[in-house]
C-alpha cells in the first residue's frame, strides 16, 4: 500500500516539475497576447495651451485643450489578415480627436495599426494607415511587448509617420507600481497637415496661403514592465506654421502645450494594469515557481515513503534472521 502511494506521489512530483518550465517557456509565449477585441479610451488635457485661430491665422491661449484617444480592436479584419499572413494578428482602428475648450474640433487623425498579438511587431497588411495615408510601421506604438526589457525601443511617431528610438531612462515608482520610464524627442520636422481642419479649411487652402506645418515633441511614457501597458503618458508638444520658401519670416505658433493624462484616467489605467499584470505573473512566476516547489515536496514525500517501506521490509527480514520460512512436510501437521 505504501509502495503504491509513493509511486502516485512520484507521478505527481514529475507532473509538477515538468509543468513548471512548460508553462513558462511553452504556454506563456502562446497564451499571452493582446486581445483582438479590445476597446479603450484615454483622455489627455493641456492646460493653458497655445492654439492657432485659422480664421485670423493668429495664436491664442486657451484654458484647456482636450485630446480623446480611442482605440478599437477590429476582430473581423484581424481574422482576415490572420488568414492572409498565417499569424495571430490584432488590428486597431484608432482616432485621436483634439477639441478646444468649447468642444469644437481642432484636429482629428484616424489610424490603423496592425501588429502581431504576441510580440507586438508590426504586420504590413490589412491597410495600415495614418489619416488615410498608407504607412509602413517599424517598431511599436501605443503598447510595449509583454515582459519589457530595460533597453531602447523603436517607437512610431504619428505626426512624422516614421519611427525613432524611444530611450529607457530608468525605473520609477508610479502610483505604487514599479514602472519603466521611456522618453523620445522628435526634433523640429516638417509634417503633413491633417486632412480635417477646423472651420472646414482644407490642407490645400493652407498650402495655397504659403504655409507648411512643423512639429517637435518630447514624449514620455511610464510602462508596466510585466504587461507592457503604459500607465501614464505625457507630451510637451509644439507646432508652428512656417512660410514656405521664406525661412526668415516669423512662423505662426499653431499649438504649444504640455499634454497630460486626465487624473481619473490615470487611476483607472493603473487599476486595470495592476489586475492584468497578475495574470501574466501567474504564468511567468507564481505557477512555475509554485509548481517547482510542490514537485520538490512531493518527490521528498515519495522518497520518504519508499525508504520507510524498504526499512519495514528489512526489519521483517532481520526479525527472523533472514532465513527462509520453514516448509512443513505435508501430512505431519
Amino acid at each position: 500500500m505504501r509502495r503504491r502511494a509513493s509511486l502516485v506521489l512520484l507521478a505527481f512530483a514529475v507532473f509538477c516539475a515538468a509543468l513548471s518550465p512548460l508553462l513558462r517557456w511553452y504556454a506563456f509565449p502562446r497564451l499571452a497576447k493582446v486581445p483582438a477585441g479590445q476597446y479603450r479610451t484615454v483622455v489627455m488635457e493641456a492646460e493653458n495651451a497655445t492654439l492657432i485661430d485659422y480664421g485670423t491665422l493668429k495664436p491664442r491661449t486657451v484654458p484647456r485643450l482636450t485630446v480623446v484617444q480611442t482605440l478599437k480592436g477590429n476582430v473581423e479584419k484581424a481574422r482576415e489578415v490572420g488568414a492572409e499572413t498565417g499569424r495571430d494578428v490584432v488590428v486597431w482602428d484608432t482616432l485621436s480627436y483634439a477639441a478646444g475648450p468649447d468642444g469644437a474640433m481642432v484636429s482629428m487623425i484616424p489610424e490603423r495599426y496592425v501588429f502581431d498579438a504576441h510580440s507586438q511587431e508590426p504586420v504590413h497588411a490589412g491597410g495600415e494607415h495614418v489619416d488615410g495615408t498608407p504607412v509602413r510601421r517599424d517598431g511599436i506604438e501605443f503598447k510595449w511587448p509583454f515582459l519589457v526589457e530595460k533597453r531602447d525601443y523603436r517607437y512610431f511617431d504619428l505626426m512624422t509617420r516614421t519611427s525613432a528610438p524611444i530611450h529607457y531612462k530608468g525605473t520609477r515608482v508610479f502610483h505604487g507600481l514599479d514602472v519603466y520610464y521611456f522618453e523620445q524627442t522628435i526634433p523640429w520636422t516638417k509634417v503633413p497637415l491633417p486632412r480635417k481642419l477646423p472651420l472646414g479649411i482644407s490642407p490645400d487652402t493652407v498650402r495655397r496661403l504659403g504655409l507648411e506645418r512643423w512639429y517637435t515633441t518630447r514624449r514620455m511614457f511610464w510602462i508596466d514592465p510585466v504587461t507592457g501597458a503604459p500607465v501614464n503618458g505625457e507630451e510637451i508638444h509644439s507646432e508652428e506654421m512656417r512660410w514656405t520658401g521664406d525661412p526668415g519670416k516669423e512662423p505662426i505658433p499653431a499649438f504649444s502645450g504640455h499634454v497630460k493624462m486626465r487624473p481619473d484616467y490615470v487611476d483607472s489605467t493603473v487599476a486595470l494594469v495592476a489586475s492584468q499584470r497578475q495574470l501574466v505573473l501567474l504564468l511567468t512566476s507564481y505557477l512555475p515557481w509554485g509548481l517547482l516547489a510542490l514537485g520538490g515536496v512531493l518527490l521528498a514525500l515519495s522518497l520518504a515513503l519508499e525508504a520507510r517501506d524498504r526499512r519495514a521490509v528489512a526489519a521483517d527480514r532481520a526479525h527472523d534472521g533472514g532465513k527462509p520460512e520453514r516448509v512443513t512436510p505435508e501430512g505431519v501437521a
Partner: protein, 44 residues
C-alpha cells in the same frame, strides 16, 4: 521499473495538459459596438 512508469505518466500528463490549453487558447472576442469618440467622456 514501476518508478519509471510513474514518472512517465506524470510527464505525459503535464505535456497533454499544456498542449491542450495552448491549442484551445484564449477567446478572440468581438469588435466592440462602441464608436470612436469625438468628445471626452465624463468618467473612464
Amino acid at each position: 521499473m514501476r518508478a519509471l512508469a510513474a514518472a512517465a505518466i506524470g510527464l505525459a500528463a503535464a505535456l497533454a495538459l499544456v498542449l491542450a490549453v495552448t491549442a484551445v487558447g484564449p477567446p478572440r472576442g468581438e469588435t466592440s459596438p462602441e464608436p470612436l469618440l469625438t468628445s471626452a467622456p465624463a468618467r473612464p
